[in-house]
Subunit: 214 residues, 2 copies
């Protein structure tokens, strides 16, 4: 299949993920064919945007007709790398880490949690989502044995860089960081931050701004 190579906006990748989830739902409902307008309506965008997002990667539809739901979804999932399963380790078994370990949304897509780690001796050996909580000194070995490629950091801010340093040494490929701090990793490791307070603070800014402009 044709893979065009201009720089793809990250926003496009995020939307592809949303389109894919929507298409999976439509497919389950028995929908066979769909238009860019219907995808836009179901995912909160514009039809031109939907078509442009697809256009970066090829031609998936039929002019005058639309897209086959199954085919399109397969294509998007392949683009996103979801035609294989990914092994994930989670560091931090506090409230947030525990929630993430048990989050079913990951399994429903292509992600399997294969290790949970915490430095609290009281938690060691306890089971969480079918996994034993291990000490951080088992992290590198587990990543290598399991061939885990993605790590989720869910530890307090002051421990996040230390955890990241172990992950770097363990040759992890990507990190999803929930700790409310900036962490530094080499350029070849993919890093994304999910910042809970930043999201709330954007909301308060927007409330305040919309209330003063009226």
């Amino acid at each position: 299949m044709i893979m065009k190579n201009p720089k793809i906006p990250e926003a496009t990748i995020m939307r592809l993920s949303v389109y894919s989830r929507f298409l999976t739902k439509q497919d389950k409902k028995g929908v066979i064919s769909i238009s860019s307008g219907q995808i836009a309506e179901g995912t909160g965008g514009s039809s031109a945007q939907v078509r442009k997002d697809f256009a970066y990667f090829g031609e998936f539809g039929t002019r005058g007709v639309g897209y086959n739901v199954k085919d399109l979804n397969h294509n998007i999932m392949r683009i996103l790398g979801l035609n294989k399963r990914w092994k994930v380790v989670i560091i931090g078994a506090g409230n947030l880490g525990s929630a993430l370990v048990q989050y079913k949304g990951f399994r429903n897509r292509a992600f399997d949690v294969v290790g949970v780690f915490d430095n609290d001796p009281l938690k060691l050996g306890l089971y969480l989502g079918g996994l034993r909580i291990l000490a951080p000194d088992m992290l590198e070995q587990t990543i290598k044995e399991q061939e885990a490629e993605i790590a989720i950091i869910a530890v307090p801010a002051n421990h996040a860089q230390g955890v990241a340093d172990i992950l770097i040494q363990s040759k992890i490929k990507a990190i999803l960081n929930f700790a409310p701090t900036v962490i530094n990793v080499p350029f070849h490791i993919e890093l994304r931050n999910v910042d809970l307070t930043v999201n709330l603070e954007v909301l308060t800014y927007n409330i305040k701004t919309s209330e003063s402009n009226n």
Copy 2:
């Protein structure tokens, strides 16, 4: 104080939140004065970006010198609306909702959780983070009595729109949605989505792409 009024990029607001957290940390460490370059280094950006972000809102520094840490942080927090405390209700006391109720990072900024709701009869009346879990039919009343302005949705995707509809009726001002689905709200309600699987899927796309371009 002078409030300039051109459209502010949302990315700027998100960075201001990160700057503020960084400045709070520096302030606690006793740092008095700081330059845009030091802020950039501590938050992972460029010094020009830092100065431009501030410039949308006024002049907070002294040429040739830098910024006073305390003053600058106060200014940013006021811009973000964090010079008051905000009351938050959380709907969904599953793993994720429970974690959010107990998340200390919210209190450390300006957010107080004043209500937790779940439709599971087994959970009703249980305490979570010092709050009793209430049934969803108490949601509207609680929001009005407590004057809560922000809601966090942490329920399964198939219940998210129903919860949102109650929130709309309750005149909530902003919603932070963790359910993996698109929800529709009127334009005057601020909405942000935190999508856990989307973030992982951007990572898998990036891993795949960086591995095929070498």
